[in-house]
Symmetry: C2
Subunit: 106 residues, 2 copies
C-alpha cells in the first residue's frame, strides 16, 4: 500500500507508471542525475535548476514519487529526493543503466 | 534518416520515443508478444485481437514503428509487424527483458 506521501511499496511499483514517468525528458534527467550520485544521496527539487514554475516542478517530482522512482522527505522548507535504486534494480534490472546511458557523464 | 514508412535508422532511435511508446499497455503488450516469438516472426495488427477500432490499431502500430520498436511491411491486404530486436538490444540492453517480465508467458 502506498504511504500517505504516495510512495508505493516495492511490489506495487508498476512498469507502466515507471515508463510514463521517465518518458518525460525532465523527469528522466532527474532519474539519470540521481542514479549517478552515490547511493542514498539527496537532492532538493530546486537544486536541479529547471526553468519551470514551482507548481510544475512539484508536479514532476510527484509523478516520480507516485511511480516509485524516488522517495521524498521533508527537510523544513524544502523536500529532498533520493532514488529508489534497490527497488528499481530488483523490479526492472537494467532500466537505470539505460536511462544513464542516454546522457553522457557531466 | 527515417525511410518513407517512418522507420528510423538504428542510431536515430530515441529513448524518449521508445519509453512513450511502451508506456501504453496495448503497445507494451504488442512488444512483449513479439519479443516472445522466434526472431523475425511476423504478426499482423489484426492478429492481436484488440477490442479497438481499426483507426486506433493503425495509430498504435504507427507509434511503435516511428519509435523504432517494430518494422512493418505490406502483405497485400494487411501489414505484418516484426520486432526490431537487434536494434533494441544494442541501443537499450535489457529493455525487452523488462517488458517481457511484466507478463507471464502464455
Amino acid at each position: 500500500m502506498s504511504d500517505e506521501e504516495g510512495h508505493p511499496d516495492r511490489h506495487e511499483i508498476e512498469l507502466g507508471a515507471v515508463l510514463s514517468a521517465i518518458a518525460d525528458p525532465l523527469r528522466r534527467h532527474v532519474v539519470a542525475t540521481l542514479a549517478r550520485l552515490p547511493d542514498g544521496s539527496e537532492r532538493t527539487c530546486a537544486s536541479f535548476g529547471f526553468p519551470v514554475s514551482k507548481a510544475s516542478l512539484t508536479h514532476h517530482f510527484k509523478v516520480l514519487r507516485h511511480a516509485g522512482l524516488i522517495r521524498q522527505v521533508d527537510r523544513g522548507n524544502s523536500r529532498a529526493a533520493t532514488l529508489r535504486r534497490d527497488d528499481l534494480d530488483l523490479r526492472f534490472p537494467g532500466l537505470l543503466s539505460i536511462v544513464m546511458a542516454e546522457e553522457p557523464d557531466e
